[in-house]
């Protein structure tokens, strides 16, 4: 079980909910469950092949899951999973 924080740009797919609790034991299970709860969100989270969209990052607490065990990173009840969109730009 863990709490997932939905970033502002994706809340239109979660009825404006910012926090969603899932029962998954890993990041992958939690995010998959989130996609099942909110099917419209699913295609914004995953590519057709099922991997996470490249402009999104997932953190558990303050750690990028890439520095942990990626989608297999285990989560406990008190863990907070954050979905983070890439924020960038510039003048050229």
């Amino acid at each position: 079980m863990a709490t997932i924080i939905i970033p502002t740009p994706l809340r239109k797919f979660t009825d404006n909910k910012a926090k969603i609790i899932t029962s998954g034991k890993s990041v992958g299970e939690s995010i998959t469950q989130l996609g099942e709860l909110h099917p419209d969100l699913s295609k914004h989270l995953f590519k057709q092949c099922g991997t996470l969209q490249s402009f999104l990052k997932i953190y558990v607490g303050d750690r990028d899951i890439k520095s942990l065990k990626n989608e297999e990173t285990p989560v406990k009840d008190e863990d907070v999973i954050s979905i983070i969109p890439a924020i960038a730009g510039g003048k050229i």
Binding site: A18, D62, I87, A88, G89, G90
Partner: protein
């Protein structure tokens, strides 16, 4: 800089035939803060978040939340670290604020969005761009992504 602003306008990025209906509103103190961070950062781009309350007709900014620019070429790019993004969302939730948008500066470049800005833009956010030059002259324009292009959002400054 080129001679006229028109020369910078890329019509594949900006749709000048439309205007955003929701107005961006902030007070003079917020405006002064945006100007100051852009001047302090010159000649590099700076970036941060605009927090406040969204309503049907207005994005009302009550707070500026500066973050570090972690892009490699900061004279022409900005990038916000995932951890800073996570912190701002958490801060907004704690304080019952909306993340209204993102501001960034364009040193020696007009307050017009670029292709690169469009690539990463989220339609839910307002994008305030602060143009700043070596004399400290500034101009702020705000934009929203709608149908794959930016459209301008009018700004109302209250005293």
């Amino acid at each position: 800089m080129k001679a006229t602003v028109e020369e910078y306008l890329d019509l594949s990025v900006v749709d000048i035939t439309k205007k955003e209906q929701v107005e961006l509103r902030y007070n003079e103190a917020i405006e002064a803060e945006l100007v100051q961070v852009a001047r302090n950062g010159y000649p590099y781009e700076i970036a941060g978040f605009l927090l406040g309350k969204k309503s049907e007709d207005a994005d009302l900014v009550s707070e500026v939340y500066p973050v570090e620019n972690v892009a490699k070429e900061q004279e022409r790019k900005f990038e916000i670290h995932g951890l800073d993004y996570l912190k701002v969302e958490a801060y907004a939730l704690e304080n019952k604020l909306d993340v209204i948008g993102i501001y960034h500066s364009h040193p020696d470049y007009p307050a017009i969005p670029s292709k690169h800005d469009l690539e990463f833009a989220q339609s839910v956010f307002a994008y305030a761009i602060v143009s700043v030059d070596g004399n400290g002259d500034t101009l702020i324009n705000s934009w929203k992504k709608s149908n794959k292009k930016f459209i301008q959002q009018s700004i109302l400054i209250r005293s």
